[in-house]
Amino acid sequence: MKQFISFVRKEFYHIFRDPRTMFILLGMPVILVVIFGFALTNEVKNADIAVFDQSKDEATSSLIAELQASRYFNIEKRLRSYQEVEEEFKKGNIKMAVVLPPNFGSDLLHLHNAQVQLIADASDPNVANTLTNYAAAVILDFQDRITDGRNLPYTITTQFRMLYNPQLKGAYSFVPGVMAMVLMLVCTMMTAITIVREKETGTMEVLLVSPVQPMKIVTAKAVPYLLLSLINIATILMLSYFVLDVPINGSLTLLVLQSILFTVTSLALGLLISAITDSQQTAMFISLTGMFLPALMLSGFMFPIENMPTILQLLSHLVPAKWYYIIVRSVMIKGVGMEAVWKETLILSGMLLFFLFMSIKKFKIRLA
């Protein structure tokens, strides 16, 4: 035990004295959350729009009020002709125009079917898409409200429902993704690098000649990273909860336990990488291209897996981050419990055992 404490203390010295390591460990998570939360998000706030209301009845004015009331739109201009729509777009004053045809109110009341035209500036397709989605959601909301309780046969042709994320918040899907990436980065890459560094400098030889068992050496190396990962989990959760307003709908305990499972799995992967490489460069290269990029691309957090070619879909099953991403999304945002994520938990545990088994085996082979 004394040996072990000596070891862990030494690892902390290494970490605290290397600014680069400190930055990756503690600065990176915050930067990733901020980048993904504010810069890369599709979310649009207070977008300038124009309204061309040709009906000017009770229904249109309450719909416009609804649009104005939502945080997404700012009604910059009331238009009086179609011509003005194009003018405003060309001037760059607005990002979207809402056109309400004549007789909107009476059509809705008598024909049970009214139309709204949304015109968006598609030079930025992402923003255009987001804006029309938001507007459509607001309009649907409005429709639901007026039909509510009266069982009237108003035709709602588009079935448009936003599950779990009614405000279409970008932050909802990226927080679980950032957690997966940060833990992967800290645990897999940093652990692999710190062990390989000792091989490079020759201190590993000295450690192996000492009475400390090899498995104890690598465990002691992993402990500080496990602790720092817990801090990272807490930081990310607090940032997303307090700054980005992402709720934690499920059990916090389950979320933390699952994060620890993923952390340990990533650590085991780091150990495996360190057992099969001899230089820090190789370790970093394998961690980044072999682990980090797949975690980014194939976890479903940036690109939906359902849209990928079959071969990539199959490959994505091998990425631990994918399963963790599903778990966190389910627990944190859908608010479900263990009964909904036991399968993913089992897969992650299996991966953990496999990585541990392989790294112990590789480690022993190298010693013989």
Partner: protein, 249 residues
């Protein structure tokens, strides 16, 4: 060499094969307590593999050996506890201070806090490093690092210390000082098992073995070896023997 002297290392037909390649080919020798035993050979002669077997890092393919009375097949844990080791690569942590390095290595050998405290003070005084105890090791000159690494390797008072080319890249003055430390260690009863490239250093050893192609081709005191091969220096002995080598580097 008295007959009653304690043998701390014995090797009998010790062999290590990697597939078809025999890295160490049935070497036999004994090392006595307090002896400075030079272990010479060209690169690739099998020195490192032999040391790895004797220090419990590698299990032999054949033959027998004991280190500090422990068997190299079954008692590697006890062997590791009884030896110190300093490798040709620099073996302290550059980003730890002098004091932290001492404390860490003493800690992994399970030394008590009191022992560490007392002996650290003594050691810092001996090495005249008291002023530098809280400086990072990377700020020290290479010669000081090597001397500190040696002191750390014998800090836990091992029976045997293995030095694998300890003076590589060090200036002649520091090498002299380093060898003074080796003599002091040997006088205090620690057996020194040293490999070196410098043939003048071979002259400092009590006995020298020379490995060629995985075998020990010569083993005696430097004086006897020079007589036997009828040359004036260990360098010439080594050249005469190494010329027979068939293995490439």
């Amino acid at each position: 060499m008295g007959i009653d002297k304690e043998k701390v290392i014995t090797a009998n037909q010790l062999t290590k094969r990697f597939g078809d390649f025999t890295a160490v080919d049935a070497i036999s020798f004994e090392v006595e307590k307090g002896e400075i035993f030079g272990f010479l050979g060209a690169n690739g002669a099998g020195k490192t593999t032999a040391i790895r077997m004797l220090s419990g890092l590698s299990i032999p393919s054949d033959g027998e050996a004991t280190v500090a009375g422990f068997d190299v097949y079954r008692q590697t844990e006890q062997i590791k506890r009884s030896i110190g080791y300093m490798s040709q690569k620099f073996s302290l942590y550059e980003d730890l201070t002098v004091r932290e390095n001492i404390r860490f290595f003493a800690g992994i050998y399970g030394m008590s806090d009191q022992f560490i405290k007392d002996n650290t003070a003594r050691l810092l005084h001996q090495l005249r490093l008291k002023e530098e105890e809280n400086k990072l090791v990377k700020s020290l000159p290479l010669g000081w690092k090597q001397k500190l690494a040696f002191s750390v390797a014998i800090f836990h008072e091992p029976e045997i210390v293995f030095l694998d080319e300890p003076t590589g890249g060090v200036d002649p003055v520091t090498r002299r000082e380093f060898w003074t430390m080796i003599y002091e260690a040997a006088e205090s009863g620690i057996t020194v098992f040293v490999t070196t490239h410098y043939m003048d250093e071979a002259e400092y050893c009590n006995r020298v073995s020379i490995m060629v192609d995985g075998r020990i081709d010569a083993l005696d005191t430097p004086k006897n070896l020079k007589q036997q091969y009828e040359v004036g220096s260990m360098e010439d002995v080594f050249i005469k023997l190494a010329r027979k080598a068939t293995r490439a580097d």
